[in-house]
Symmetry: C2
Subunit: 342 residues, 2 copies
Amino acid sequence: MANEPEIPTNRTPTLTDVAKLAGVSIATASKAINGRSEVRATTRVRVLEAAELLSFAPNALARGLLSGRTGTVGLLTSDLEGRFSIPILMGAEDAFGAGQVSVFLCDARGDAIREKHHVRALLSRRVDGLIVVGSRTDARPPLAGNIPVPVVYVYAPSSDPADVSITVDNVGGGQLAIEHLLACGRRNIAHITGEPGFQAARDRAEGAAAALASAGLSMTGGRPYYGTWDESWGRAAAHMVVEHHPEVDAIFCGSDQIARGALDVLRDLGRNVPGTTSVIGFDNWEVISAHSRPRLTSIDMNLKQLGAIAGQRLFEAIDGGVPTSEEFPSRVVMRESTLPVG
Amino acid sequence: MANEPEIPTNRTPTLTDVAKLAGVSIATASKAINGRSEVRATTRVRVLEAAELLSFAPNALARGLLSGRTGTVGLLTSDLEGRFSIPILMGAEDAFGAGQVSVFLCDARGDAIREKHHVRALLSRRVDGLIVVGSRTDARPPLAGNIPVPVVYVYAPSSDPADVSITVDNVGGGQLAIEHLLACGRRNIAHITGEPGFQAARDRAEGAAAALASAGLSMTGGRPYYGTWDESWGRAAAHMVVEHHPEVDAIFCGSDQIARGALDVLRDLGRNVPGTTSVIGFDNWEVISAHSRPRLTSIDMNLKQLGAIAGQRLFEAIDGGVPTSEEFPSRVVMRESTLPVG
C-alpha cells in the first residue's frame, strides 16, 4: 500500500485521513463508520473503502487495545437503586464489545461534590470517556470543570445543548400507552402518575393527552391524577377514579409501581382486569410487571439499547467524530393486563 | 519530637514502627488502630499513643490523599439487579470517608472471563484494593491469577479460607425470624422459601428448624417448602399450606418477594394478617416490604454496614494489617404483618 500517494505511512491513520480520502466531512466519516442511518449508502461505501485502504482502526480504544492498553469508560450515576444504571452499563459494555472495555460505575448519590470527586478519580485513572446517567429525565447541569475526555449524558440530558445527550422520548411513550389502550377497544381512559415536579410525569401525561385528543377523546376525570411514584398512591388514586368515574375502562399508570397498586385495588373492587378495566404501566420493571395479577403490560424504555447507543456515541467522540444528541422511542411489552376486548 | 530516639525522622512512619514502639504485633497494632473490639483497652491506648507520637497517618490511602493522590477501590459484582451491590458500595464509600475514596463498580455478570478482564482493567488503573460482591451466599472461587492488592469478599465468601470474607449469618437470620414469630405468640409456623440449590435457602431453613426445635415445635408441613424466589411461588405455596394445614398461624418466607405473594393469597382467602396469620419476609427490600398490604416485617441483612465493614477490613489490609473473615448478624425490621397477637 506504500505506493498509494494519499496514505500517511509514518503514523497511525486518523478519521481525518479517512474523511479526506473519501471526500466527506469528518462528521460524515464518523457516522458512516459507526453505522448511523443518516448517511447515504453510496457515501458509506466510499468511507468504508477509504478506511480499509488506510487500515484505519475503527476507534481510539481499539488502537489502545491493539497496543496492549485496556479501554475503560467511567459511568457516573445518581440512581441509588441501580434500576436505570445497571441495564445502561450492560448495554454500553456490550456496545464496546464483550471483554474489550471495562465500564467503571461510580455512585454520586445526587451530590455535586461527590460527583466532582468521582470525576477527578476517574480522570486520574485515565478513563477514555464518561457516561453520565441521571435518576430522572429532567435536564441536569453539565459536569463541572474542564473535562478532557468525551462525555455522553444518558436518560437525563445535559442542560447544555452543545453536549451529547441520549434520552427517551417520554411524550412518545405516553402516546404509545394510550394508542395501545385505544387499539384494545378502550375509550374511557384515566391517567394516574407520579410527582408533577418530574419532567417524566409531565411528558408522559402530555403524550397521553395528545393521543386521546387525536382520537376525539379526553382523559377520564379531565386531567392526570398526579401523586407519588409508589403503590400506595396507585391504590388510593384507583379507588378515587373508580368511585367518581365508574365508566372508566382503562388506566394508564406513570410507573409499574403505581400500576401494581391500581391492579390490587381493581381486584379488591371486583373489577376484572382486563375484562372490565385494562391497566398499562411504565418502566417494564420485571420485578413488578412480570409478577402482578394479572401480569402487567408496560412501556419499556429500552434502557439497555440506550446504553449501547451511548457507548457507540462515546466511541465516535473518542474517535474525533461529532456525535449528536438523540431521543429514542420506547415500546409496548404486552402481558395479560391489556388483552384486547374479545 | 526529634529528640525521641525511636522515631525514624527521615521517612513516613509505618504500622511496623507503631507496633514496635507499642511493643505489640503488627496485627494487634492494626486491630487497635482500626477500632476492632478484640483488642484490650490498655493495649489500644498504648498503640494509639505510639501512633500519635510517630505522627502515623492511619492508612496508606490517607497517606496517598495527603500526597495529592486519590484513593480508589474496585468493586466487582455479579449482581445484575444491583440490589445487594449498591448498598454495599455505599457502605464501603462511607467507611472510607465521604469524598475521600472512589469505589469503581464493575459488573462481571457471573462470567469468569469478564471478571478477569475487569480485574485486569482495575489493576491497570492502580486501584488500592478490591471488594468482590457475590449475587448469592454460596462460596465462590477466589479471583484468578496473582492479585497484587488486598481483596475482601463480601456477601459470598471466597472458597479459600485464607481469604478475607465478610458474610451474613443466614442460619442466625432464620432463627431470628422464627424467634420473632414465637415472641408474637405464634406456634404453627410454615416456611416457604426459594431454590434449595442456594446456600441461603438451606441456611435460613436450618436456622428456622433449629429455633422451632428449641421451642419444642416443628415446621408446619414437616419441612420447608422449597421453590423459586418469586411472588408466583409465594402465592402457590401459601395456597397449598393453608389448604393442607389450616391451623397455620404464621409463615416465614425466604424472600420478600415470596412473602408478597403469600400476603396477597392470604388476603384473597380472607385470612387476616396479622390477626389470623403473621408473615415475615427476608431481605427487607423496601420496594416490596414497605408497600405490601399490610406492610411486611422482614429480616434485614444490614448490607450497608456489611459494605462499611468490608471497607474497613480492606483498609486494614492495605495498611499491612491482617484482617480476618467475619460473619455478621441480621436484624428484624418490624412492620404490620407481624403485630403481636393482642
